[in-house]
Amino acid sequence: MADENTPVAVAPAPTPAAANAPAKPTVKVKIEAPAFREYPTIPALRADAMIDPDPYAATAAHNEAMGFPGTLVDGWEQKAVAKMGELLGKYRSLKVYMDACVHCGACTDKCHYFIGTGNPKNMPVARQDLMRSVYRRYYTLPGKLFPKLVGARDMTKDVLDDWFRYYNQCSECRRCSVFCPYGIDTAEVTMAAKEIMHSIGVGHKYVNEIIGKVHKIGNNLGLPGPALENTLEGLEEDVLEDTGAAVKYPLDVKGAEVLLVTPSADFFAEPHVDSLIGYGKVFHAAGISWTLSSKASEAGNFGMFIGNYEQMQKIAMRVREAALELGVKRIVVGECGHAWRVAYAFWNTLTGIGAGANDPFAIQLQKQLDPNYKQPSHICEVTWDLIQAGRLKFNKEANDHRIVTFHDSCNVARGSRMGDYAGGQFEIPRNIIKAVANHYVEMSPDTTHERTFCCGGGGGLLTDELLDLRVKGALPRMEALNRIVQHDGVNFMATICAICKAQFTKVLPYYGFKMSMVGGVHQLVSTAIVLDNEQ
């Protein structure tokens, strides 16, 4: 708490520095970063601050390709209420969350979107109440008899519009649930709301277009096999030129030991690709044969963001199919926050990659996978195990131009684990950074570990029309970063999530920082690792 109250030495101008000023995007609102606060306090309320712009609605083609109605169906009010009833029966947690809230207010100021926007509807309790009020009306006796007395509302178009707007202003990061005395998980409420909306033909373009590309092409970007191959060949040339080592970035190699599944942004974007280069160097240095897959060329699983089990399973199934086809012994997941949550928490029941599934394919996969390793493993677990075993060598001085901090990604921090002990997901990435770099500084403990703030772009909100929300939602993270930039000269924020990397690259300049300040943990590994230069 102490350094939460430490005044900021010099608050940078909240408007972008001229040199890095992003061009005005084509949205209606003028996007401005909020000013840093000397003492972070609960913001003054700004009712309806975030009613514009709304997320773009998915087209009928996007919705129908996923098996949802294309547009708002006839009788949607009854159908939405019925779907809610179905989910209440299916997910006992949802019923508990609807009933248990006592409106104590502990969550109100814990949401980065509320902190950044001041819009009271971005208080987690208010976000939940968008659904809870409808739940009360149709599924509780007092709400059926005396709706006005208990704040129960009919399912109307206004309510639906509020759902679409404000459930698409929740990044499902679950920070609020850390502070809820009942453990109510707002993310699960948001996911249920999205599931209900999809069932009546209301989807978000960004997410549904991407899921369509995963099914059609194999990854979120829509990167076809030949482009992937071309990109990977280019990386091999670059690394050979830079290091003299013939590091391979193999694609679809049968019989490789490891299948690496990583976000497609790692193939495409900066700084993501630097971590991909790092994974390859780790495998090369340790002498582990590995491969990427053109079929499972995406770790991300946006099915989770829309709370739809069938989509989540269908997307996850590609990884199982690729693992079987390639005959790999290990499955490793690259730097992607929500992918690791899906892999760690859900693959087991979705596809049987973990223990427990008993269909013939799952049994075959169980026999195939090496029981000496955690299945799946996070790339950070792989690297840390190799470091501990003394199989990797580093020239830490190569990172001496960097003063590094680590941003815990929400889905890794609060939705998963690494290693075999509680808190491994916090320690292992930090251990790696400290093994490859000499200068490391923590951000305020109120903003790290399980209390970490979302980058502001998670949950399917990493889209240009929501940039104003994304910039404002990044405020608490930017404040914490600014304190150590001013105090300790930090110039690099490492993270292990493609969304975090893309989001920060975009919003850092609005707060007066360079976009190149953000990068991956394996980018640092890549800089420092010593390779055997013989080919």
Binding site: A227, P263, H272, K501
Partner: protein, 111 residues
């Protein structure tokens, strides 16, 4: 769906102004789209735009940022083969803004 009008001809775009029918693109449309992005097109911009279009025609996707910087570096000299150079040309990001002007679809995903 929205549309833009260039030289008396109407072109369909999505909500964000990306061309819907990529085959309809021509240099006038590129110039018009650049204006909507407040980007003044120079020869340097066209080098990038032309590379993007060639790459897209071959691979049905925009090139990765690294592929783009490397190609530009080879052609125009290593000092220009940096993402900073591309951001100077296309401040909202070489991937999205340059693609839009070049009449390519918007890259989606965590980028």
């Amino acid at each position: 769906m929205s549309s833009i009008e260039v030289n008396g001809k109407s072109y369909e775009t999505d909500e964000e102004g990306y061309l819907v029918n990529l085959a309809e693109w021509n240099e006038e449309v590129g110039n018009y789209l650049a204006q909507t992005e407040s980007v003044e097109l120079t020869d340097s911009h066209w080098e990038v735009i032309n590379f993007l279009r060639d790459y897209y025609n071959e691979f049905q996707i925009a090139p990765a940022v690294r592929v783009l910087t490397k190609a530009i570096g080879k052609k125009l000299g290593p000092e220009k083969g940096t993402s900073q150079y591309l951001y100077d040309l296309f401040p909202y990001g070489p991937a999205k803004q340059a693609c839009k002007i070049a009449g390519l679809p918007k890259p989606t995903g965590c980028v």
